[in-house]
Each structure stands twice: as C-alpha cells, then as structure tokens.
Assembly symmetry: C2
Homo-oligomer: 424 residues x 2
C-alpha cells in the first residue's frame, strides 16, 4: 500500500465536494483503499507515505467524446459552416490516416496532449483504418492511459477513401477483439458507427450484431443539429426518433452506449435514453463552435439521465476537460437566463460530470471512494494562490484560471503516468 | 528608425486580414512608418533591422472593460447569483483598497498579468479610493503600458466604505487631471460613474459636468440584465431608455464614451448609441458567467456602432483578449443558430474588434497602417505548429489553442515592454 498526503477534493455526490484538508488516501494494487484525516486508519505502518505538501489531489479527467484523427485541425477553420468544414478539413485529414507514419506522428501528439491536460481516460473515434486504429490503441497502452477506441464504421455519404465494405468492417472488429478483448484491460475497442447518415442499414445492422456478439460498448452521434435530424427522419422513416433508429439496430443501450451531443433531444428520444441508460456526452465548446445549439443538461439530469463531458476535437477547440466544465456551466447559465426553473450547473455538478458520472463508463472510476481505480491529478496552484483562499476556492480558481502548467502528477489505476513520447 | 522582419498580420478592415509573409515594418518615434515586403522601401539603409524569424507579428490587445480591484476574485464564486456575489465578494474586496499596501500587491499582479496576456491598452475601473487609483496609474506608467483608469464614483446602494461625497468626488477628479491630464500621455483618467443604480442624480450631474469641464472620456455599464434595466426605469422615469438616462447627464457620447455590456440594448437606446458614437464594450465571458444573456454584436455592427472587447474581470474569468475573441465568436454563433440572417462573427471581425476597433478609443492604435502607434506582439507558435499550416491558420490556432507562453515580445508605442515587477 502507498499513502498519499495532500488536500483531497472529489465529488461522491453531484451536489457537493468532499474536502479533506491535509488528508490521506490509501492506494493498494491500483485501487483506493480509503480517504482519511489520519493515516493510522489504514493500519499499515509499513506503507510508504508520500507527502505532496500544500497541493490539491483530485480525480483525473475523463473525456468521453473526442475525434483523435482531427487533432491536427484543432482550432482551425472555425469560420466555415459544417458541410464545408467536413469536406475541406475533416474528411481529407482523416483520409491521411491510411499512412501509418503520419498516423503515428499525429496520434503520439494526441496522446501526449491528453496527458498534458490531465485526461487519463478517453472514449474516442479513430478513423476507418484498422492499422492506424490499432496503433492508437498501442500508444494508449504504452502510455499507461485508458481508452475506448473506436475504429469508425461508415459506408455512405463520405469520400471513397473512408468508405469500407461490410466484410472489412467485420474482420476489423474481430481483429480488435482478439488483440484488445480483455475486459480488464485499460485499452478496449468500442463499436463506432459514425452516425446514421454515413452508415447504410446493413452497416448499422452489422454494428448492432457485433456489439451483441462480442459484448462491446457503442458510441455515436445523436441529434446534434436540426438539419441532421431532418435527414435522419428521411433515411429512417419508420423510427419514432433519431435515437429510436439506433435502438432498432441494437445500438442504443443494448450494450453500454455513449451518444454525443443530444442538443435537440426531447420527448420520446429523451425518454428512450433514460429507459435504455444511454450516456450523453455533452460537448459544450462544440455546441458553440459548430453553432449547433445548447444541450439541455439540467433537463437530462432532472430526468435521471447520465451525462459526461467531451472535448469533441476538432468541433471543440480545447482538449482540457477543466475548460469543458467552465463551458458546461456557461451553456447551462444561458438556459437558466431564459428559464429560471432550469437552475444552472454548479461547480460540483460540472466536476462530478467530468469525473464520477463519466467515469462509470470505465468501471469504478472518477471518485476516491473505496474500490475505485486510483486515477488522480496533483495540482500545484501556487502561482494562482497569491492570496489566501479556501481549498474549494483554490480548486475553483484552478478550474477557471489555471491550466496544464498546474498539473504536476498524473495517475491512472494507481500508476504514475510520465510524459508520453512524441515525434518531432 | 527600426525595422522589424516577421510574418505580419493585422486587420485594416474587419472583413479580412492583411497578411505579409516575411514582411517588414518600419517604426519611427513609436509610430508605424509602413509595412512592406522589402525593407528598401523605407529608404533608410542605416536603420537597424531586427529579424524575428518564423514568428507572427500582430497588433497588441486592447481590453476596454475590466475591474482592476476584482483581480483577486478572478474565477471565484461563480455559483452565486449577482447580488450575493456583489455583497459577499465584490464590494468587500473593493473595500480593501483603502489599504494602499494591499492595493499595491494586487494592482502589481494585475498589471503584470495584463502584460503576460499581451494587453498593452486597458480601460479599467479602479475603486472609489483616490490613493489606490493614483497608484494604479503610476504602475501602468512605470510598466510603459497604456490605460484609461477610472476612479469609481458611487454614493448609493453600496456599502458605506465605498460611498463618497460629491466634494470628495470633485476634488479627486481635479487631482487626477493635475497629475495625469496630459492628452499625449499613455495613462489618463476617465470619468467612471459605476452605473445609474449606484449614483444619485447629483452624482451623475457632477460626473457629466467634470467630463465636460476637463474634456475627459466616460465609461460605465449599460443594460446588462433585465432586472437592472427595470430598476433604472424606476430610478429615472423620465428617460426613454437606460442609455437616455446617461445622456441626460452628459455621460453618453458628449465626450468619448464606453458602455459595457449592452446585452439588452435595442430600439431607441441602440439608435442613441449610434447617433452619439458611444463605443460598446462586449464582454462575452461575463455575459455567460453572470447569466446576463448574449449581446447582439452583429446587430450593433450592422447598425454602424463601434464595438471593442472587454475581459470584465471578475464577472469574466479570463484576462486574455484572445480568449475573448473566441467567446465573442461563440456568442454570435448562438444568435446565428436562432436567426440565420445574423451571420456569426468571423475571425477577422473578432480580431478587428479587439485591435483596430477598440484601439480607436486610444487614438491611432490597433493597426499597422502608417501613423499608428506601434503596439505589437510577437508570437512564437512553434509548439503549436507540429505540421504545415498557412499563416492565417497559424494565427487562428494561436488564438484558439495558444496562450501567454506563445507571446515572446510586447511593444507599446514603439517601446518593448519588459515584465513588470510583482510583490511576492
């Protein structure tokens, strides 16, 4: 057992922070034994005690929606409308991942920068290319970080270079399962139909079948913008909603499922999400940048729907999940401004979304309760702390004002994660 | 004359960037002589040529609405509603500026961090305290940075410690004019009634009189939230709008005037702003954080109204005007999402707001046209530039993804500004 001493903050419940000043956290075999104000409770006098001084110890970040191959496009071409942006930036960039050397250069940078921003767990889209996707999974494994990585499935409304056959899709899935199928592994595959407009009914059917057969989780996009919803209505006229279309193919909670955006989700679709325990990936910067609208997160929480945060690179422009907390609060404040019955998200709620709520997708992740994986960040906020603040105010200031410079240690399942290598 | 060589980008017009790859800019006596692709056009062979290499040279940032004494509260207590936040955080903090030693510690940090983020020109609120306000002006002067600093006027609806008499207000103004009245100085006073709810009619009258008498500019807050507007309607029943109330006191464009927020400005108030050439300080993070609503900047621009950007610390949580550009674009995208006739702000428009449009308040500032003050930043984006991008894309990525680490030189009126001292 190792025991870390620091100011410990986390959210067991969404409504408030647990704050243990000069607290101790016992960690054994990668998991949290407990948190205490006195290390003697661990009854382990031989345990190494690591004193982190006047620093904050918090759960690490989870990013549950991000496009790894779009990392080069981060912060680029934000003046374009969605379709021009896809055709001129997104698809051409994704096509380049047929080149494994290019993929390695970009994916190493991506994994490095997730590390830099304290994101230890990621649910990401790769491309349709199997070799590059396997490489990304190996890079996460090499770094010691956790990820669900989706080899993207698509076979319509996309450039030929990114179109795949049903056979290739099935074989690729089998390869991924063979190589990364261990349920206890930190890096695992996830079934990833891009979204309904880019998959034929046959492809969607195959995706549902593979998810069932290998008991794999699922991720996709849902109800991001109004014209997309209109298009899906035409493509799947028998479905009662966009979400119901996924549901009919076994891609909506039959296995653990994340749906990104849900900006315009309401009524029957909202009810289906709740019933099927689908997790919503809220991507607030992307909501703004792509002019989609603002997802109604308070409504989702009030309905008992699970929500996590996603950076959605490169629709989003910031890889930091701390920035996503700020943006999620801001989006909710715009809803509140118009309807005072929808109270805005508090800091503890936003923190909980990014940690314990999102972490559920990975198992016992995102909290410091006994049995949880010890995924943690050590925050040195001395450069922000130029006057006396409470511990909660220090955390709030780090979230609003700090950045990656303040993150001085990172842990994933108990192991300290050092800086991953990049290719210059 | 000095000649700087770098990749030069600026916005002469709002609709596009001037981009000069490996360009030259001639600077004489603090002012831009011209920009060229060849240094021989300056016909000054003895001029020192400073080669800045593969870096971007852009105009420095202008922040036209920020509360200097609220800097300690940056990123704090964002869960509170406006009134609780004012009573428990803002007013108590401002009261501490009666202590000149406290003021020096905080104001040095504030000036330092403006420098850090590349803001060379600031229009700021101080407090009602004359000694602390004079100190702040001396600190700007010592740093070589430019500012309009407002000793705040208020005498109602505020804690006693921040309440002042008319006599004190008048004397303080006279002192400031005596000390900082030189129209060519980089640091100048500005008449600053906090807002109508915190000033009696007599105080507003005095402010208008002083502005007229000493030909001083004016700044205040306008139409930030709906209950504030309702309150002003009660306090000033004879005025046709909140803006008209300022106008009746000679505080609305009779001398150059900045009004912060204008979230709910429309109709007659909008028309009066246009007619009187009042400049709007758009503070997008503050619009979100305080749940005020989203200012209709496209409407203002379409109406020919001048707009600049403000960080509005600590309603805003970020001192970086580059971040304000991103947020301003995002606010405009939410208007666009609801009304496609209001096209969102482009990057060049946001950049122009922060540079040439805001810079007009200071004279010829914010562009690299001949005769403009040479206010500039040198951007080293090599850490962002891990693949080949165009110069415009490099600038866009710096704005969206970069931060103060990328700013390697700062100039204000021709002089390189080195790091201002802080008190530990």
């Amino acid at each position: 057992m190792k025991i870390y001493k620091a100011h410990i903050l986390f959210t067991k419940e969404k409504d408030h922070f647990e704050v243990i000043e000069n607290g101790y956290i016992g960690v054994d075999d990668g998991h949290v034994v407990g948190v205490a104000t006195d290390d003697s409770v661990f009854q382990c006098p031989e345990a190494e005690v690591i004193d982190l001084g006047d620093r904050l110890l918090i759960p690490a970040m989870n990013d549950i929606h991000v496009h790894a191959p779009q990392y080069r496009n981060l912060g680029l071409a934000m003046d374009l409308e969605l379709l021009d942006w896809l055709d001129n930036y997104t698809f051409p960039e994704e096509s380049r991942f047929a080149d494994i050397h290019y993929a390695e250069r970009m994916y190493r940078r991506f994994v490095h920068d997730l590390w830099r921003h304290g994101t230890m767990r990621t649910v990401c889209f790769a491309t349709t290319h199997l070799p590059a996707t396997r490489l990304l999974m190996h890079l996460f494994r090499e770094a010691g970080m956790s990820a669900f990585v989706g080899k993207v499935n698509m076979n319509r409304n996309c450039p030929e270079a990114l179109c795949e056959t049903l056979e290739a899709a099935e074989q690729a899935c089998e390869t991924m399962v063979r190589e990364f199928g261990d349920a206890d592994s930190l890096v695992r595959p996830i079934i990833t139909p891009r979204f309904i407009p880019s998959c034929t009914p046959e492809m969607l059917q195959l995706c549902g079948k593979l998810a069932q057969q290998y008991q794999l989780p699922v991720q996709s996009h849902l109800s991001e913008n109004t014209s997309e919803i209109e298009l899906v209505r035409t493509l799947e006229p028998e479905s009662s909603s966009y979400g119901d279309a996924y549901n009919r193919y076994g891609l909506f909670g039959q296995t653990p499922t994340i749906m990104a955006h849900c900006v315009w989700t309401e009524g029957k679709e909202l009810e289906l999400i709740r019933k099927n325990d689908v997790i919503v990936a809220h991507c607030p910067t992307s909501n703004f940048n792509i002019a989609s609208g603002m997802a109604p997160i308070r409504t989702f929480l009030d309905s008992g729907i699970s929500v996590g945060l996603g950076s959605d690179i490169s629709g989003g422009h910031d890889l930091s999940i701390f920035r996503m907390m700020v943006y999620a609060i801001q989006v909710s404040k715009m809803h509140y401004q118009r309807d005072k019955s929808k109270h805005f998200l508090t800091l503890s709620e936003a923190f909980w979304l990014a940690t314990k709520s999102a972490g559920r997708f990975f198992g016992h992740v995102g909290s410091f309760e006994p049995g949880y994986d010890f995924d943690a960040l050590v925050i040195d906020d001395s450069d922000l702390n130029h006057d006396h603040y409470s511990l909660l105010h220090r955390l709030e200031r780090f979230i609003y004002v700090g950045d990656d410079r303040n993150i001085v240690h990172r842990f994933c399942r108990g192991r300290e994660i050092t800086e991953p290598a990049v290719i210059a």
